[in-house]
């Protein structure tokens, strides 16, 4: 292994992956190109739009601001995996009911970002919800429907706990 190419072993959506990557390959490009997990999107490649949001070791990160090489030994989860696990089925249903996506390009990042807040429990205020998604750009919806959907799920989950 030269230092320009790195061998990495990680789990992606629970599956163990061993790959050799170019050192300069970002995590999101690795997921999209090497693993064909194209649900994580590339909107700006400078950390501003949030379309590339994925989970690494349980927390959301910008997939364009991390190298694949840094993920050796990491647990990576993408929208495909989180969807299949059923973890956000209620949130997805709420997005659908509320038409909280139009083109859907921002949606995988929005869902993962929202889920991080929702996992904290409780019913956050609308302002808190807006703050949570403040780094996720959506050109289509104007955000209100997204906030509505997240708020509705927070309430549902809180009810279910009671």
């Amino acid at each position: 292994m030269s230092e320009h190419r790195c061998d990495i072993k990680l789990t992606v959506n629970g599956e163990t992956i061993s790959e050799t990557v170019e050192a300069r390959t970002t995590l999101v490009d690795f997921l999209r190109e090497a693993l064909s997990l194209t649900g994580s999107h590339v909107g700006c490649e400078h950390g501003v739009c949030g379309a590339c949001t994925v989970r690494v070791d349980g927390v959301i990160v910008r997939g364009c601001l991390m190298l694949a090489a840094q993920c050796d030994g990491a647990k990576v989860e993408t929208i495909e995996g989180v969807s299949d696990a059923g973890e956000i089925a209620d949130l997805q249903a709420a997005f659908e009911r509320r038409n909280a996506l139009q083109c859907g390009f921002c949606t995988p990042g929005m869902l993962l970002t929202a889920q991080e807040l929702l996992r904290g429990g409780g019913v956050p205020s609308r302002d808190k919800i807006r703050e949570q998604i403040s780094g996720n750009y959506c050109r289509c919806t104007g955000y209100q429907a997204i906030v509505d959907a997240i708020e509705a799920v927070a309430q549902e989950r809180a009810e279910a706990k009671r």
């Binding site: 970002t26 400078h46 950390g47």
Partner: protein, 280 residues
């Protein structure tokens, strides 16, 4: 928009990082939340990237002898949630929520933010206001630099090419400590147009040891020393007037110099109020 090729090495220890820094055009990688964007845009093209993540010596938050020490690799999110920081470095706690967005704070580090030294960033100004110091390790061992001497110019610090910022230290707050923080950013989480971090000690009469550190108004965080003198005596209006000679902000894409200067005055009034109130 893909980075130019580089080599990648994971530092096994602080010494290993310093050793690797000896190589041609090597660069440290911490949270990557500033560096990766510049690499993607090919604004910088190091030959070797040295990943500090995982170097245990760079983590940790410790309080001892009236000082709170925060490891350089402490992530923004850890600082935001740290009870020690809330208690002993309340100014930093106030500043944290203004930095970027959740996903950025999950990765970005305090050390990276200080080493990057963006003139509109919150933490450099906080450190300056707190009269903090930075611990630096290099080939010749460790040294300590005062915040005052650390920020040298635009994105320029006292860090040498083979230096690693290892930790910061600020005096732990006491019951008399007063801090204030406010900024104007066009959108939540953006770098500030103008911001102000302030710290002082309430001595019964006024504010002793007052330090007002502005950011977004120059190449580095800037102390407003004349305003400090006026405000220490409780003269808010004079302090605002004094800013005219303390600050000489130049224009950027978001605002011209005159606007920034005006906003600096508005911040001063708001922060002055915070400073006058005892801490909850």
């Amino acid at each position: 928009m893909k980075p130019a090729p580089f080599a990648y090495a994971k530092a096994r220890s602080l010494d290993h990082a310093i050793e690797l820094l000896g190589r041609d055009e090597a660069r440290l990688l911490a949270g990557g939340q500033s560096l990766m964007a510049t690499l993607n845009m090919r604004l910088s093209a190091p030959k070797l990237l040295i990943d500090l993540n995982g170097v245990a010596a760079l983590g940790g938050i410790a309080v001892k002898d009236g000082t709170i020490e925060i490891g350089a690799l402490t992530r923004h999110i850890e600082a935001e949630r740290s009870a020690d920081i809330a208690k002993h470095a309340p100014l930093i706690a106030l500043a944290m929520p203004h930095i970027g967005h959740p996903a950025i704070r999950n990765r970005g580090t305090l050390g990276g933010s200080l080493a990057f030294a963006d003139p509109a960033a919150e933490l450099p100004a906080c450190l300056l206001a707190l009269n903090g110091e930075l611990e630096i390790a290099g080939p010749k061992g460790k040294r300590t630099v005062k915040a005052e001497d650390f920020f040298k110019g635009l994105f320029e610090t006292a860090l040498g090419p083979q230096d690693v910022l290892t930790a910061i230290r600020v005096p732990a707050a006491t019951k008399d400590t007063r801090v204030g923080f406010a900024e104007f950013a066009r959108r939540h989480g953006d770098y500030a147009m103008v911001g102000l971090a302030a710290a002082a000690r309430a001595d019964g009469k006024g504010l002793a040891g007052l330090r007002l550190a502005y950011f977004g108004v120059g190449a580095t965080p800037v102390r407003a020393k004349k305003a400090e003198a006026a405000l220490a005596n409780g003269h808010v209006d004079d302090a605002v007037t004094a800013l005219a000679s303390d600050l000489d902000p130049s224009a950027d894409v978001q605002a011209d110099g005159a606007t920034k200067r005006h906003l600096a005055g508005v911040l001063l009034r708001r922060v002055a109020k915070q400073l006058m109130e005892p801490r909850a």
